[in-house]
């Protein structure tokens, strides 16, 4: 089973896509490491992560089929 990643705002420009489907990874810390390695600009970007539509603030286990959203702050008006 895979997991789904959604990227918003400037993050989708870094990833080059607004979604990715990848092989299951055990937790959000490992996912971050994997993404930072592949997309170094992500490591310095400001964003929050939501797991299945709920914000997470520390390392969290990921279940197969989960959706993670990466959301940066917007300032425009």
């Amino acid at each position: 089973m895979k997991i789904n990643l959604l990227f918003f705002g400037s993050l989708s420009a870094i990833i080059g896509n607004n979604s990715l489907t990848i092989e299951h990874i055990t937790d959000t810390a490992s996912l971050h490491l994997m993404l930072f390695e592949q997309f170094p600009a992500l490591a310095t970007a400001t964003f929050i992560v939501a797991l299945n539509n709920e914000v997470i603030q520390s390392n969290t286990l990921i279940q197969p089929g989960d959706t993670l959203a990466f959301l940066p702050p917007f300032s425009g008006g």
Partner: protein, 366 residues
């Protein structure tokens, strides 16, 4: 409500199941302060006035310019050069003369928040920069005012309702529960720098107006302690449930609040850098080692026509500081935000560099 045309004007709302006279009367008694009369503020103001909110405050220091018109729908070509507050007041009065409008043709500071927030039931953040957003957020927490937040970036927008006391004993959340520390200028481009399609703030602003009406009348479920993100290209919408953040810190007293330098916090103003007006460019370039550097990305328009320049995009300029440090540098971007940020980074590494930032950027040269 004393208006003889009340029944006729609000007929469709009065006959609406789940809304009706009671909700309409709540709107008439409500007061809402909208900070920013731009892309978000215009549709918010238009719908709040049309729907019948009794008292509306409008805060904006800007004047109407031609590049505002594709999204700031309260204004017409004839309004160019007028204060946005004046033009908005006229349009809204014509739309609904029964609404009371107070205008603040001012850039909202901490003092304004402390002096005026208590006169309103709800505050709406329709600004376009982080310094204002954090300043407004902190004041709303301090003064216990519900805040309807909206922000856009290119084809996407965010909406949230902060500081709305919920029925549970839980502390109401605010913007600092999501992003405790303001991002630095340059990290996140604003609309003037990154561009925006006018319809997008129209959609987000209209959604903010809907949240205001929900808060006032009690209908539906406002986005309390949630962050909605909308993508106009895909119509994808995601609503995130927020949680209290242990890192969240708000000044606890008015005195502490007044001490915070929000512009500094967001990297907007920095000591040691001379900001110059566009008319001073020629004078500074007359020095023989002076260089005008356009730090915009290659796709950004218009091209500079008036002066010879070198193009070094913001994304790579860091790597060239060493070569640049012996020149007199005049940095320019689209609006003056990124050039200030780049100048700051340069001075941190090479404190003796002569570096200037063009205030207002290429936009100010047009």
């Amino acid at each position: 409500m004393n208006d003889p045309q009340f029944q006729e004007r609000y007929h469709r709302q009065l006959i609406l199941q789940g809304f009706g006279l009671e909700a309409q009367q709540k709107l008439a008694r409500a007061s809402v302060l909208v900070i920013g009369a731009g892309g978000l503020g215009c549709p918010i103001l238009q719908y709040l006035a049309a729907t019948g909110v009794g008292h509306i405050g409008i805060a904006d220091a800007d004047i109407v310019s031609l590049s505002n018109l594709p999204r700031q729908i309260l204004f017409t070509t004839a309004n160019i050069g007028q204060f946005k507050t004046t033009a908005a007041n006229e349009t809204l009065k014509a739309l609904n003369p029964t609404v009371n409008i107070t205008v603040y043709p001012a850039y909202f500071t901490q003092r304004h928040c402390i002096d005026y927030f208590h006169q309103y039931d709800i505050i709406v953040d329709a600004t376009d920069n982080f310094a204002s957003r954090y300043l407004i957020n902190d004041a709303c927490v301090l003064m216990q005012k519900p805040l309807v937040f909206g922000a856009v970036s290119q084809f996407e927008g965010q909406i949230a309702v902060f500081n709305n006391p919920s029925l549970s004993a839980k502390r109401p959340l605010n913007y600092r529960d999501i992003f405790p520390i303001p991002p630095q200028a340059g990290d996140v481009l604003n609309c003037a720098e990154a561009g925006v399609l006018g319809i997008l703030p129209g959609i987000i602003g209209t959604m903010q107006a809907m949240e205001v009406v929900k808060l006032i009348t009690g209908i539906g479920q406002p986005l309390t302690d949630q962050l909605l993100t909308y993508n106009a290209l895909s119509h994808q919408m995601i609503t995130i449930k927020l949680h209290p953040n242990a890192q969240m810190k708000i000044p606890e007293t008015v005195e502490a609040y007044m001490q915070i330098q929000y512009d500094w916090l967001c990297g907007n103003r920095v000591a040691g850098i001379t900001q110059i007006e566009p008319y001073q460019i020629a004078e500074i370039l007359s020095a023989k080692n002076a260089r005008l550097i356009d730090i915009r990305e290659p796709h950004e328009l218009p091209e500079i026509q008036q002066f010879p320049y070198i193009s070094i995009p913001f994304s790579i300029i860091k790597d060239l500081f060493n070569e640049l440090q012996h020149h007199k540098l005049l940095l320019i971007c689209q609006t003056g935000t990124r050039s200030l940020q780049a100048a700051t980074m340069m001075l941190q590494q090479f404190p003796n560099t002569k570096v200037y930032s063009v205030k207002g950027g290429v936009n100010a040269m047009l």
